[in-house]
């Protein structure tokens, strides 16, 4: 199975670059999620429920 990923006659460059780009992107999203506060999450996940409205900012 790994032959598919190894025997690429020079095409490995594209594969490795792509995976690195994804890893970097994934890490950015991970940091973004880590930095989100619980209060903010609470507000965001309650948005579909009509009786609440958030047009001011909660503190982190």
């Amino acid at each position: 199975m790994f032959k598919q990923l190894k025997d690429l006659a020079g095409g490995e460059f594209y594969l490795i670059t792509s995976l690195i780009i994804f890893m970097v992107f994934f890490l950015i999203v991970a940091v973004y999620l880590y930095k989100m506060s619980k209060g903010h999450i609470q507000i965001m996940s309650n948005l579909p429920f009509e009786n609440q409205q958030n047009n001011t900012d909660e503190e982190d």
Partner: protein
Amino acid sequence: MMQLEKFSYDNKIVRDFGIATIVWGIIGMTVGLLVAMQLFKPEMNMGNQYTTFGRIRPLHTNAVIFAFVGNAIFMGVYYSLQRLLKARMFSTALSKIHFWGWQLIIVSAVITLPLGFTSSHEYAELEWPIDIAITVIWVVFGINMFGTIFKRRERHLYVAIWFYIATFVTIAVLHIVNSFQLPISFLKSYYVFAGVQDALVQWWYGHNAVAFFLTTPYLGMMYYFLPKMANRPVYSYKLSILHFWSLIFIYIWAGPHHLLYTSLPGWAQSLGVAFSIMLIAPSWGGMINGLLTLRGAWDKVREDVTLKFMVVALTAYGMATFEGPMLSLKQINAVAHFTDWIVAHVHVGALGWNGFLTFGIMYWLVPRIYKTELYSKKMASFHFWVGTLGILFYAVPMYWAGFTQGLMWKEFTQEGLLKYPNFLTTTLQIIPMHVLRGIGGALYLSGVVVMAYNLGKTMLKGSLVADETAEAMPLAPDIEETDPADKKWHRVLERKPMKFMVFSLIVILIGGMIEMMPTFTIESNIPTIASVKPYTPLELQGRDLYIKEGCVNCHTQTVRPFRSETERYGEYSKAGEYVYDHPFLWGSKRTGPDLHRLGGKYSNAWHFNHMLDPNSMSPGSIMPPYPWLITQTLDISTTEAKIKAMQTLGVPYRKGFELEANDKLKQQAEEISADLKQNNINVKSDKEIIALIAYLQRLGADIKANKSTIPSNQ
């Protein structure tokens, strides 16, 4: 001091899209049932060209994707967007233009596809003027959506809206890039790209149409409607964000898994495989997030039919998104590709995920905008069970048929010969499965008809709250600049819709660019073959008939490098063979055999008789007869424009060739007609069949005589 503002939600547009969803759903599925029946009883084409498989299979796919699912998306978006933003749609007029424009586009598809006006790119068959209309209406939708976002009364953009924005921007990019066509007349055009490059663009589009039309808007709807139905927030909002970004990032790379073992460069295929495997993670993240939203509410699932639909929809999503990556593994793909396995896979997604999520939302939404109760819960429950049975009856026989045929194609005898050298044997083996599939489809469709009746009665029972009053505080205009919390980088995106759109655009462009740029710019990726020459004018006209009749829906033109295929069809296909193919015609399904090495295999007389009555040459064949090709006169008024267009696209016809093209065409047609006459077949040289035979006899002929000069694909 700010005051509470009174406004109203536009429910009428939601209702209109809802009705359109039901109407087109029934039409699209009925056409689906008709084409399904033609695969075991060809006479179901009703003996005319306008209802023959090759022309109406695209009608089925376009109708269910863009008419049924499309209208359902707009219904869901127009309902949820207004409420999530606490604002009426930006412009009622734009909503109406969007609605009627979209319906007109669908009607134009219903007219043009049976008439044979098709670009041949799967799920993008509509010709260029309709492509332009789609672009305009899509922009209208975008303006209406962003206009609403700008005048919102809710500062934060809920994750559902992220999915809607990503849908809008990605579909725009996909549609535009996959519509690079050179028009030669009002309803005929050639794709700018050829062969391998055209294939890559098409399947980058085709795969991402699944991703960004059938998946992301539905995930957005799932994130809004499921919490509403279960009356509890989504299980994990963080997971939804991770789900969103990784899904849109990864999905866009996966297209090449539709082209495994073709002449697409190997690294691009591997990239498609790798990202397809990775796709399991975000897809299952979304499914799990949906199912866990129902934690502690499973008792409701037993009572509430809407939740039942949602649970099956999410389960089908989970199954299809696990199966997809598995199918992209080369070893599995080698057996599954071109068989009914793929048809089963697609329909688990379409019937289960898209269909059931749509039904769940409609049963929830229609009584609400009509301020009444559902007319009959029993009927809805019946719909749920008959629909579920329908999916099973559809999918199980198709899996069975897929495994059976895929393995039969590959089976060798002990002596090393193909066990089933006649393709037709493998087709006849799975006919009973096709009958069962038809029953499955009929069950599913009957459920939808019951739903239509039930919802119709519900609408009659209540009365539409066309403008639902609501009130909310306005957004303070300057708060974004003054509040320091706003400047936090991770907040910016969910506050600034335009930045958000640009960022998601960049995210989805990365994958497509890395895959496409090298294939388009580095010559060594498409090795040329000296013996491959442009089509003669008659062959070119014949090729356009092949496109018009939709032959590509059942026949591939790409021989994979397996012994089982080179034994059956001949030399495997090379990238350099397709350089003049605008568009590529590799196909995605082998209901009949591959045709890439057909040229010279049979006599002209064989082809004539086979097209007139396939059963006379291949007893038991399920290919429909094409008698009209023998009576209809070939339109040669277009030859000059076609040659000119090809010259513009870089096909090396010599200068001035377009002016003598029709003479050459007639000369070649006379030769074929004379050859047929020797076999006691009297047909005038100006008939369509002559051009089609010329094209079929050309297929693969370029390299047959020059095998030694051909470079390999990798």
